[in-house]
């Protein structure tokens, strides 16, 4: 059996029996009446006569129901219409996504008073209009039914007058304000003023996922307790040691954009940055790297020290030969690109970060790729401060504790101690928006607004300001927490007045303030010059000594990581929960990530054996292990993920929460925060002393990896992904083009393939023809597009049980492909959505013509015409069509169609949650197929706008949802008939890298892919062309 080039699952790699059986069927489940096999047809559960009876009855019932009197509908206009509001037209308001320290400038699309979609703000030089999955999903949090709806004292509803009165008398003793990172300059002033009123008061900043190691290291190296601005776009050589900067580290949206700048390839002058990644488990960033090397987490110090030595030209002393070669190679790359090189490290250990600073100093990163002139404010918490606070609380030295944004009862490693301390604080006030683990222990709950209801400002980086303005009237009796602070510090006037007063002078009065709000951002007038920091390396020897003995040679080690989707506090968001993790492709749960090697020794699953791999892969239940760390145990199912170190396991944070924070968080996964530890000064996200054993139980994981397979007679997966190394591409740029030419030769070659490859006539397409291009070199697989699509197109949430059955509904998925050997393969991400084939196989099998082609090249789907035969899905070679197996949206007139769905789905149909629906897109009912529409509501709107202005359509009129959300501009969309459009130019400029998926089928997709190029000098392992 030949080794295939790309594979998605182990079964596919090994061509197992179950895999080959599975891919033959479009749908994983057997049809319902198969269980009655062998019986007489009339004895079956629903025999013919019953069927006819039901048919007759339902027709009669429908006729009677429909001929009843039509209900009277009312049309209620405004009493006083605001001048600039046109009902039915969307308005965009610039505001800012603020989630603890994460700041992203956004536009909120508001329809008839409801924010329904978040778009990136292109005026922000930091994000350039990019977003992340979390930003996209944040609009759903506004309509979360679990939000607190009124202020409470001891859980009882009270008015604000009452609570203000009660708190005025209760604030006493040493006052401590505990918050997550605050980026707002006005809020900081208000806090200072508030604390000034209570002598002895202090402000403690606490981050759930802390960066205090870096902050302290920068203080030690440079005397600045700050995070610098990174400039990945200036780096020709990037070395990351465990920093998941594309997924979760510091400011991923910004870094994605910068990183992609260096990865985009000019075909005429091919050059790109080189990214070498050292890691212990599979991460999103590691998956994008050109070369990746695995090490034990305990070796991080040694790796960093060895890299410093190598950069300085000294010998590398690392035992593992492969790792040693990697470090030497990384050092060579860094030294070769001095002044255009960058090293980042995800460790929270002060000493490690001091050494990283020394490397960056040695390779000339300061002032070129690292800027200490403009510092990032995204993380400010120092773990030691919080440790002291907890001690003070337990010692009874805190009289009043006010909490905003922080949730230590859940996120602190020693939550019990915090809870015990909290009991000793006389007055506890929480501003958190939900009854979370900390708020439920507080006496007063004074819920803050959601950011879409708030006023505010944020300074993500020095001099880069971003503003918040309300996009909806507050849904509940919540109050902006700054207003509370102002009130309690005896100030007159509210926060809005304060904000206007603060900014009015700075931005030039009322009109300047209006412009600032309209733009949403104020940027430095000229891009500030990059400036490095110079400092003593006096701390270096001590740091090197400090990390010397940490490395271990045996035993299992643990890495606790953040998921790209939910992070530390996003578990209550169903969109994020249902978004497949880019690396593991799992939804709804956390789990223990193990390597194929460990699976063999620990679980007895040998993936090389046919039956065992199938058993693991085809059946959702996964074997459960018990992990014991520092006397704490956690039982979780395992997932086998290649690119994981054989002796390392990984567990994600953010799970194991209760229904109080939301139905979507209830009962999914386990809390991994208790597994963290304190290594003296900082929180450590690794643990080197881990006991792991199989329990013999199993637990189902909703893994989407093996869904939507299309490796059938219709087309082979190897034709879907195309990938080259930079060396290959330079040597033979037109390799892909030649392959295509050769393959299509019998039908006239590339030029005439469209007309000669078919019996059907070729249609004229005057006017507009929509086309899309996806650059696989820019795509990092972050998943922002998947959530953006869900939000834009009312894609339903189906819940874990349904995902387990392969019923997930996302119109867009990001396929993860491996190539090479099983333990340490290369990873390629490929966004897959409806290809809008001009000769679509789905169209001609539909018996009712519910899916057909538009003159603009869109493969259209008329839901109300669809009768649910699913022939189209069966015939789609890309498996991008989704069937509504149940009434996920509550759109049916008959209530019985959703009985077995879980609470999360029912909660999505709550009147409050439904406010997020896009009124321009039909909500689909049970029994119809749906799929990507090329955001037809947006193309139609763009055309109408152009028609109203009596001018041809231009690129700036339209951005589809996935394209708008993408932080790396990997997606281009536009009118392919227009010679000046970006899509046409892109296709013209990239003749060598572009290809169509399954081109030989003559389906003629309207989506062009640009092949992935990996910056390697040699041909990658196992990449021998399988059709050679």
């Amino acid at each position: 059996m030949e080794q295939k080039k790309h594979w998605q699952s182990f079964g596919e790699l090994k061509q197992s029996d179950a895999y080959n059986k599975d891919v033959k069927d479009e749908f994983r489940e057997d049809l319902p009446f198969v269980e009655d096999e062998g019986k007489n047809f009339l004895d079956a559960k629903a025999p013919r006569r019953d069927f006819l009876k039901y048919l007759g009855f339902s027709t009669a019932a429908a006729a009677v129901a429909a001929s009843c009197e039509m209900p009277v509908k009312k049309a209620i206009p405004f009493a006083n219409k605001p001048e600039d509001v046109v009902p039915g037209n969307a308005k965009f308001y610039a505001t800012t996504y603020v989630n603890d320290g994460d700041v992203v400038s956004v536009l909120a699309k508001v329809r008839d008073g409801r924010p329904i979609k978040i778009e990136g703000n292109e005026l922000s030089p930091i994000t350039g209009g990019g977003t992340s999955a979390r930003v996209q999903a944040s609009v759903l949090d506004l309509y979360d039914t679990a939000r607190l709806r009124f202020p409470t004292i001891d859980g009882k509803e009270v008015t604000y007058e009452a609570i203000d009165k009660s708190i005025a008398g209760a604030i006493a003793g040493p006052v401590v304000l505990l918050t997550s990172t605050i980026t707002s300059p006005t809020t900081k002033e208000i806090i200072t003023a508030f604390l000034a009123k209570y002598p002895g008061g202090r402000h403690v900043v606490y981050d759930a996922v802390s960066c205090s190691g870096m902050l302290l290291a920068n203080e030690a190296s440079y005397g600045k307790r700050a995070l610098p601005s990174y400039h990945f776009e200036n780096a020709k050589a990037i070395v990351s040691i465990g920093a998941d900067f594309l997924g979760t580290w510091l400011s991923p949206v910004e870094f994605n954009r910068q990183y992609a700048t260096g990865r985009k390839l000019d075909e005429k002058n091919p050059a790109m940055s080189k990214h070498i990644h050292f890691d212990s488990i599979a991460t999103l960033t590691g998956s994008n790297a050109d070369e990746r090397y695995l090490h034990r987490p305990s070796e991080t110090g040694s790796v960093v020290a060895a890299l410093l030595a190598a950069v300085q030209g000294q010998a590398v002393t690392v035992a593992d030969a492969k790792l040693k070669a990697g470090i030497e190679k990384a050092a060579r790359e860094l030294n070769a690109n001095k002044g255009a090189a960058l090293v980042v490290c995800g460790s929270n250990d002060v000493n490690v970060q001091i050494v990283v600073n020394a490397i960056n100093a040695a390779i000339g990163a300061n002032g070129t790729t690292i800027d200490f002139g403009t510092v990032s404010n995204c993380r400010q918490g120092i773990d030691a401060d919080f440790v002291k606070l907890v001690d003070d609380m337990n010692a009874g030295a805190v009289g009043t504790l006010l909490i905003h944004g922080a949730n230590p009862a859940y996120t602190w490693y020693d939550a019990e101690k915090f809870k015990a301390g909290l009991k000793k604080v006389r007055t506890t006030i929480s501003f958190n928006g939900k009854m979370d683990e900390t708020t439920e222990l507080c006496k007063y709950a004074v819920p803050d607004h959601h950011y879409l209801e708030s006023w505010g400002d944020a300074e993500a980086k020095t001099g880069h300001f971003s503003f918040l303005q309300p996009t909806i009237f507050p849904l509940f009796k919540t109050r902006q927490w700054q207003d509370s602070l102002l009130k309690w510090s005896g100030a007159t006037g509210d926060y809005l007045a304060y904000l206007k007063n603060y900014w009015g002078a700075k931005v030039g009065g009322e009109s300047g303030w209006d412009k600032a709000l309209q733009d949403g951002v104020i940027n430095p007038a000229t891009a500030p010059a990059l400036s490095g920091a110079s400092g003593a390396t006096a701390n270096l020897p001590a740091a090197l000594a400090g990390i010397g003995g940490a490395a271990k040679r045996s035993g299992t080690e643990l890495v606790i990581y953040e998921k790209v989707s939910i992070g530390a506090n996003g578990a209550a968001n169903p969109w994020l929960q249902e978004m497949p993790d880019p690396v593991t492709r799992a939804t709804w749960d956390n789990y223990v990530v193990v390597s194929p090697d460990m699976a063999r020794s620990l679980l007895g699953i040998d993936l090389n054996k046919n039956g065992e791999a199938d058993d693991y892969e085809v059946n959702p239940p996964k074997k459960v292990v018990r992990v014991t760390v520092n006397g704490k145990t956690i039982e979780l199912p395992t997932l086998i993920i290649p690119n994981t170190h054989p002796n390392v396991i990984g567990i994600a944070l953010g799970y194991g929460r209760s229904a109080k924070v939301g139905k979507a968080a209830d009962g999914f996964g386990k809390n991994a925060f208790p597994l963290l530890s304190l290594n003296g000064t900082t929180i450590s996200f690794i643990n080197t002393d881990v006991k792991i054993e199989a329990t013999g139980d199993t637990y189902p994981i909703a893994l989407t990896q093996t869904h939507s397979r299309y490796d059938t007679t219709q087309g082979n997966r190897t034709e879907v992904v195309k990938e080259l190394t930079l060396a290959e591409f330079k040597a033979k740029p037109n390799e892909i083009r030649e392959d295509r030419e050769k393959e299509l030769k019998p039908w006239g070659g590339l030029e005439k393939y469209q007309s000669q490859g078919t019996l059907y006539p070729v249609y004229d397409r005057p006017g507009i023809k929509w086309g899309m291009a996806i650059d696989m070199n820019s795509c990092t697989g972050c998943g922002a597009c998947v959530v953006a699509c869900t939000a834009e197109n009312n894609v339903p949430v189906v819940g874990k049980p349904e995902v387990l059955r392969g019923h997930e509904m996302q119109w867009m998925r990001i396929d993860r492909y491996f190539s090479g050997d099983m333990d340490n393969p290369n990873v390629t991400f490929e966004p897959m959505l409806c290809q809008h084939c001009d000769n679509a196989p789905c169209e001609n099998v539909c018996p009712v013509a519910a899916t057909n082609h538009s003159s603009e090249g869109i493969n259209q789907m008329a839901y109300n015409r669809c009768i649910g035969t699913r022939y189209c899905a069966n015939n789609c070679p890309f498996k991008v069509r989704r069937f509504n197996w149940a009434d996920y949206t509550g759109a049916d007139s008959f209530p019985d169609n959703q009985g077995h769905l879980n609470d999360v789905v029912h909660n999505m149909n709550d009147d409050l949650t439904r406010m997020v629906l896009n009124p321009d897109v039909t909500v689909r009912s049970r029994g119809v197929i749906e799929k990507c529409s090329f955001c037809v509501q947006r193309t139609q709107e763009a055309k109408l706008k152009a028609k109203r202005d009596s001018r041809p359509l231009v690129d700036s009129d339209i951005k589809v949802a996935c394209q708008q959300a993408c932080p790396t501009n990997a997606i281009t969309f536009g009118n392919a008939n227009d010679k000046n459009s970006a899509i046409t130019k892109l296709r013209m400029e990239n003749p060598n890298r572009q290809f169509y998926v399954l081109e030989q089928l003559h389906v003629l997709p309207n989506i062009t892919y640009l092949a992935k190029v990996r910056n390697r000098d040699e041909e990658a392992v196992g990449e021998k062309k399988e059709h050679a």
Partner: protein, 415 residues
């Protein structure tokens, strides 16, 4: 039948074409007047503002004064005594129209000058619907003919049967006992089939019509007469239905839009008497009081807008949720007249649903209606069609219909 229809169609289109040609000359001033002025001014008789006949004479024929007044009435009143007297005379100061150019104001003045005196007919849109009726007469004729032929055929069949029977008797064949026709299996089968076909046809037609509400004419909370507003007073539709050029919904006017005029107009005295559909006479002044109640307004006192409550109108035109319809697409981009879908709304006291809003009705219109192919710059990208039109490969009389550019595809309305 088909030819009749075609004749009818050409007649209708011809009439429409003629009408549009006729009005093209005075169009500028007239349109401008209707969009900008008609909501407050009539040509004859006072509305919110004074009647405009003879306006030039009142300003001593000095058009430049009128220009200044229209551009900024409040400001000009400080300079001109006549302007000041106007402001004193009318409770509501005129809205400034800085966007109107002097040329446009002149066009309006020219229109006012040329406007026929009251009583003279304007040659309206009468006589457009006549052609349609002929076809229905024909179907009756065909029906009668069919019936007669059927009777004749039946008689002939009976005659034939009797003759055969007689012949058989003569020949000496034993005749079969005649079966009465109600037990004749052929007849029964025939009747069953006919009933099935007719029944099926009626059922499916009925089923398709379910949920359609053509001619729906509910009683509204306020007897609002479009005839008085849009017909007699010639207020432009867009003045109240502000969304019609800009958005999806034409929008029903909010209370403050009604009050723009009705702060000044508090009684109905000069117009014709108004009657409900049942024939009861309406007291229009009392209906204006209903508006005041909703607005929280007491005549003579300044109006506090915040006291207004929205009026709960009954909605006539309901499209299913899976249909996307956009007014601006049709009215602004497509230049379709309101009356095409809503009927002669300017003649209706109580509005009723004019079209059945069925998909067939939409599609038919999309098949026949031409887009603004030459006038709208958007269509400049259809180079091929432009060439074809020039070369005559596309019939220029038929033109580029909505269908031709994809206007009957599913996802133009369903998404």
């Amino acid at each position: 039948m088909i030819s009749f229809r075609r004749i009818a169609r050409t007649t209708v289109t011809g009439t429409l074409l003629l009408l549009s040609l006729y009005s093209a000359n005075a169009q500028d001033g007239r349109t401008l007047f209707q969009t900008n002025c008609a909501s407050c001014h009539k040509i004859d008789g006072t509305l919110t503002g004074p009647g405009l006949r003879g306006v030039e004479e009142r300003w001593n024929g000095d058009r430049s004064k009128i220009h200044q007044w229209v551009h900024n009435p409040g400001g000009y009143a400080t300079k001109d005594p006549y302007a000041a007297s106007l402001i004193k005379q009318y409770p509501i100061t005129m809205t400034p129209f800085p966007q109107l150019s002097e040329k446009e104001i002149d066009a309006i003045l020219d229109y006012i000058k040329a406007a026929p005196a009251p009583g003279a007919t304007t040659g309206g849109a009468a006589g457009t619907n006549e052609a349609g009726k002929e076809t229905s007469d024909n179907s009756l004729l065909f029906g009668v003919l069919t019936l007669i032929l059927a009777v004749v055929a039946l008689t002939l069949l009976q005659v034939n049967a009797n003759l055969k029977k007689l012949a058989d008797e003569k020949q000496g064949y034993a005749s079969v006992e005649p079966v009465p026709f109600w037990r004749n299996k052929s007849y029964i089968a025939l009747i069953t089939v006919v009933l099935f076909v007719v029944g099926g046809y009626l059922t499916s037609r009925g089923a398709m019509a379910l949920g359609r509400t053509k001619d729906y004419q509910p009683v509204q909370p306020i007897f609002y007469s479009h005839k008085v507003h849009a017909g007699i007073n010639q207020i432009s539709c867009q003045y109240c239905h502000i969304g019609v050029y800009q958005g999806k919904q034409a929008t029903i006017p909010s209370v403050n839009i009604c009050m723009n005029c009705h702060k000044a107009i508090n009684e109905y005295s000069k117009g014709p008497k108004l009657y409900t559909e049942e024939g009861d006479e309406v007291n229009p002044t009392a209906e204006i009081q209903k508006l005041y109640k909703a607005a929280g307004y007491e005549p003579g006192k300044p109006w506090d807008e915040s006291k207004a409550k929205p009026i709960e109108w009954k909605r006539l035109h309901n499209l299913p949720d899976h249909v996307y319809f956009n007014h601006s697409q049709h009215v602004k981009a497509g230049q379709v007249a309101c009356q095409t879908c809503h009927g002669e709304i300017q003649k209706m006291d109580e509005v009723k649903q004019f079209s059945d809003l069925s998909m067939g009705w939409c599609i038919n219109c999309h098949r026949e209606t031409k887009v603004q192919f030459k006038d709208n710059g958007f269509y400049s990208i259809y180079e091929k069609y432009h060439d074809d039109l020039k070369n005559g490969r596309i019939d220029s009389a038929k033109g580029i219909t909505v269908e031709k550019i994809g206007g009957t595809e599913c996802q133009k309305c369903h998404y």
